[in-house]
């Protein structure tokens, strides 16, 4: 699938947005990934991915939810689009199809 290829990090971000179901804004996505993947991620990387994914049509967004903590600035909430889900699924089934044909090494040992 030319042009819609998802990078590893992009896929993570996309999954995190899906998992956060409606509460996915940059800071939340960052925390989610840091927690699940146990790695440090800079907010700028999250921003960059989120907006690019939106440009590519995997995500859609709307503005809302300003808090005083944010100095009154509103959040942008992202949602996975249907196209985004489809890509995630494809990615997952692609991986699965490989797993299905990998010999069960650990079982033989």
């Amino acid at each position: 699938m030319k042009g819609t290829h998802l990078g590893e990090f992009e896929e993570l971000v996309l999954l995190a947005v899906a998992a956060l179901a409606g509460n996915a804004y940059a800071v939340a996505v960052k925390e989610e990934i840091e927690e699940k993947a146990e790695r440090k991620v800079n907010i700028s990387a999250i921003h960059s991915s989120l907006y690019r994914l939106e440009d590519k049509g995997f995500l859609e967004s709307e503005v809302g939810g300003a808090t005083s903590k944010r100095g009154g600035k509103s959040k942008r909430f992202f949602k996975v689009t249907a196209y985004g889900y489809k890509s995630l699924k494809e990615s997952q089934s692609l991986r699965q199809s490989f797993w299905n044909i990998i010999p069960q090494l650990s079982a033989q040992e």
Binding site: S44, K69, R70
Partner: protein, 869 residues
């Protein structure tokens, strides 16, 4: 509770990095993280993290910034297309604009070529930094202190022996035109020069054949130039051939050198060693200066310190009072060409030129280019105003300010490069005639060297940038609404543009006034009564063999019907005459001094119609006159002699060191035998039996060619082996001013260019101003204004501008030209007339330029002009 806010600087930075559209969200996210960290990490580290986040956000700098469908390439294409369409739409304007700039550029390029040539004179010698010419300052009683290029024969070898800083020397002692014979063929060597054997070690003149080190192994060895070799030997192998000089000495060719390049102040076509003349008498000939000496110093030698030691040197060899008369100084080789204007007796300095003239050229080149650039800018701005609709449309459909600026900058750069290409073309056309005027061999190849090409392109970009930036900024600043309505046309930048017109006109006027004054001065000098009659005088060189038959030659020439007089001299008028020592008896004591001297035939004073103020001229009737014991002095020397208290007439007088004294028999009115920038020096004359170096023949004015042919007939009959050669004295006198003539010619061309370019600019500007006021003029016409009235209204402003320019330029020019004229002993006074003529002239040119436009408008039918909308 008051919250701690993220650092302001960080926020500011972020706002610069991130596009406005996303800034709020980004800032919000970063602020939230900051607040989170504040609890866990403390204020300091939270701030640190905040800065880190901001800095890392650089990666998002281009996020969502570009318009999705923006493709700059398409726009560039569009800019180019529009630029070309505009060029073609306003052909006249484009022509004026590009031509003006191209003219300025071409002039500038050619001048740089010339300046480069002048600065590079003698640059091909590898040791140039260590080679110096030995010059003298001479101070002899009556003659004013003067720098001379001459030095004494024994100086070179003794300096080399006495000072370790000096590693080598060569003398350069011209033998002049020398007739040689080979296989019964007579050929002149134009300039045979006696040099020392080290000559080719110091100077890098290229040898084609022969050895550099052993160039002058034998005394009679001679090296000749390629051209001379072809003239003498044709296709024969010249090496080892023997030629015979007219005096009978034999010379063997042991080397051929490439013809001396144009860029060398030393010009010769044959070289022979000084060894042949190096006898004991000459080795001790201290006190007579007749050659040039070049010294090669150790690298990094202290020149001032060495020069200071020369006083001791003079005292050692010339005696106790030598330093009263002489000071030695060193002139760097690379300085000889441009830095010798104040040095006299500088006979071996080919195409000698004044450094100040080079500076003048550079300044002029700069100003011409400046005028052209201003023009370009002015026209671009004026014309840009007519494109306000285009800008309005562009802006309305979303062009950014930077895009409009960029568009006009690109156009400006495009036009400058166009101009550059045309300038190169103009250079190619102009370089040949220019070479003829200035007698140089300039080549455009210099521009093709990568460094120079890069420099030229860089300058062109700079010009394009500087002259494009103003119109570009003006255009991009248009308010789209008014731009579309067409109301921005009138006001924008007119003060600035007017100032520029004033500026360029002021420069042009200044250059022209300067040129007119300089040309006037030159003409004045050439037309001034020199104190002798130089008209229709033919000079013919004399040699040892021809001098033997001098009397016969004189008689036969006098018999010719077209010849009205024949005289002879040892030095041609129109030179700085050689100096010699003199002695005279005042009331009691013998006084020694020095003065210029020339030996002349008895009838010299009648021949040249010189005015004898006291006593008499020389005459064949007196035995003393023929014996060389009667002397004629000029007014200046007479004044000096009179200071001793004795009558000048009858004063015992002779050359210094003579045993017997002669008498002064006459005082002749001062005549200008030298350039008029110099004052007349003391001079005495007498007839001496040394042989003449030339005869002067005065011919009738009517049929000069016929007269020359007759003289040639007599000459060839008497001296069949001597080719006949002659020069008119007037020609020779004119040559003295050649450097000045070349200067004024080039400056005249430049000033012409300056006014043309300035007028082109004015023309273009006028046409646009007039176009803007078409409607106004239409209304005026309808209301009854006459053609004249309309022309006057339109021309008034330009008259004012030229007036202001003139008021600025005139006093400045007056000041500088007055300063320049003070450098001449005989100078014109600057009249108001010149200023008035140039002022009115430039005003008329401006008026004419503007009128062409305004008359067209004034004549047009108001129905047409008012129908614009």
């Amino acid at each position: 509770m008051k919250q701690i806010q993220p650092p302001k600087l960080g926020r500011k930075l972020l706002s610069l990095l991130i596009t406005d559209k996303l800034y709020d969200e980004f800032e919000g996210d970063l602020a939230e993280l900051f607040q989170d960290r504040l609890e866990g990490l403390g204020k300091r580290r939270a701030r640190l993290h905040y800065y880190k986040d901001v800095l890392l956000s650089v990666r998002n700098a281009d996020l969502r910034r570009k318009l999705k469908l923006y493709n700059p390439l398409v726009m560039y294409k569009n800019y180019l297309k529009i630029a070309f369409r505009n060029l073609l739409k306003y052909k006249g304007y484009s022509f004026i604009n590009i031509t003006g700039l191209a003219l300025g550029m071409a002039a500038c390029l050619l001048i740089l070529l010339f300046v480069n040539n002048e600065l590079g004179f003698d640059g091909f010698h590898e040791k140039k930094a260590n080679i110096y010419r030995l010059d003298e300052v001479q101070r002899f009683g009556s003659v004013s202190e003067q720098k001379v290029a001459l030095s004494m024969y024994p100086m070179g070898p003794n300096l080399l022996a006495d000072y370790p800083e000096i590693v080598d020397f060569t003398r350069y002692w011209t033998a002049g035109r020398t007739l040689v014979e080979f296989n019964n063929k007579q050929v002149y060597m134009d300039n045979l020069v006696r040099v020392d054997t080290s000559f080719f070690n110091m100077f890098d003149f290229k040898l084609i054949e022969g050895s550099r080190e052993n160039a002058f192994l034998e005394q009679q060895d001679i090296l000749i130039s390629e051209t001379l070799s072809k003239r003498i030997f044709g296709s024969e192998d010249p090496m080892g051939q023997v030629v015979k000089s007219s005096t009978g000495s034999l010379m063997k060719v042991t080397g051929i050198f490439e013809d001396v390049p144009e860029g060398s102040h030393l010009q010769f076509d044959a070289l022979i060693s000084t060894a042949l003349w190096d006898d004991e008498r000459r080795q001790n000939a201290w006190g007579s200066n007749y050659l040039n000496t070049y010294l090669q110093l150790v690298p990094g030698a202290d020149i001032t310190a060495l020069e200071a030691k020369f006083d001791d040197f003079l005292l050692k060899y010339l005696g106790d009072d030598a330093t009263d008369y002489y000071t030695l100084f060193l002139q760097p080789l690379t300085d000889v060409h441009l830095g010798s204007m104040d040095i006299t007796h500088d006979y071996n300095n080919y195409n000698k030129f004044a450094r100040s003239s080079v500076d003048i050229f550079l300044i002029l080149a700069f100003f011409v280019l400046l005028i052209a650039s201003i023009n370009f800018m002015n026209l671009s701005t004026a014309r840009a105003a007519t494109r306000s609709r285009e800008v309005g449309v562009r802006k309305s459909i979303g062009a950014f300010k930077t895009q409009i600026t960029g568009q006009f900058m690109i156009e400006s750069l495009l036009l400058t490069f166009f101009a550059l290409i045309i300038a190169f073309g103009l250079c190619t056309l102009a370089v040949k005639p220019l070479n003829q005027i200035i007698e140089r061999e300039l080549s455009l190849n210099l521009f093709l060297e990568p460094v120079n090409l890069l420099l030229i392109v860089a300058t062109t970009v700079l010009i394009g940038f500087l002259s494009g930036i103003y119109p570009a900024l003006v255009m991009s600043g248009f308010n789209p609404v008014s731009a579309l309505k067409g109301t921005v046309l009138k006001s924008s930048g007119s003060v600035f543009r007017n100032a520029l017109v004033v500026f360029q006109y002021a420069i042009a006027i200044a250059i022209i006034i300067g040129t007119v004054i300089a040309t006037d001065q030159l003409n004045y000098m050439q037309s001034l009564d020199l104190g002798f009659d130089k008209e229709n005088v033919v000079t013919v060189g004399m040699y040892d063999d021809t001098n033997e038959k001098y009397e016969l030659l004189k008689t036969e020439l006098n018999n010719l019907s077209n010849v009205t007089g024949v005289t002879a001299t040892t030095q041609r008028l129109g030179n700085n005459l050689h100096q010699t020592s003199m002695q005279y008896r005042a009331d009691t004591a013998m006084i020694y001094g020095s003065s210029s001297f020339v030996a002349v035939e008895n009838n010299f004073f009648d021949f040249y119609k010189m005015e004898v103020l006291e006593g008499r001229g020389l005459s064949d009737e007196y035995a003393a006159d023929d014996a060389g014991l009667s002397f004629i002095v000029n007014e200046t020397l007479a004044k000096e002699l009179a200071a001793s208290g004795r009558d000048v007439l009858g004063m015992p007088f002779n050359f210094g060191g003579s045993d017997t004294l002669g008498t002064i028999v006459g005082v002749v009115k001062d005549f200008n035998y030298n350039k008029l920038s110099l004052k007349v020096e003391p001079l005495f004359m007498s007839k001496q039996p040394w042989g003449w170096s030339e005869i002067n023949v005065k011919v009738r004015g009517g049929n000069i060619q016929q007269s020359i042919a007759e003289i040639e007939g007599v000459w060839t009959e008497l001296f069949p082996s001597r080719p006949f050669e002659y020069q008119f004295l007037e020609e020779h006198m004119d040559q003295m001013y050649r450097s000045e003539q070349q200067l004024t010619k080039v400056i005249s061309i430049l000033s012409g260019l300056a006014i043309i370019i300035a007028s082109l600019g004015l023309f273009g500007l006028a046409s646009f101003t007039v176009r803007q006021r078409v409607k106004e003029m239409g209304i005026r016409k309808v209301l009854g204004a006459s053609l004249q009235q309309i022309v006057i209204i339109l021309s008034r402003r330009f008259t004012l501008l030229v007036g202001i320019a003139f008021t600025i330029a005139a006093p400045i020019t007056w000041y500088f030209m007055n300063d320049w004229l003070n450098g001449y002993a005989f100078s014109i006074s600057i009249g108001v007339g010149i200023f008035l003529i140039v002022g009115i002239g430039s005003w008329l040119i401006a008026l004419l330029t503007v009128s062409i436009q305004s008359i067209r408008v004034a004549k047009s039918n108001p129905v047409e002009t008012l129908r614009v909308e």
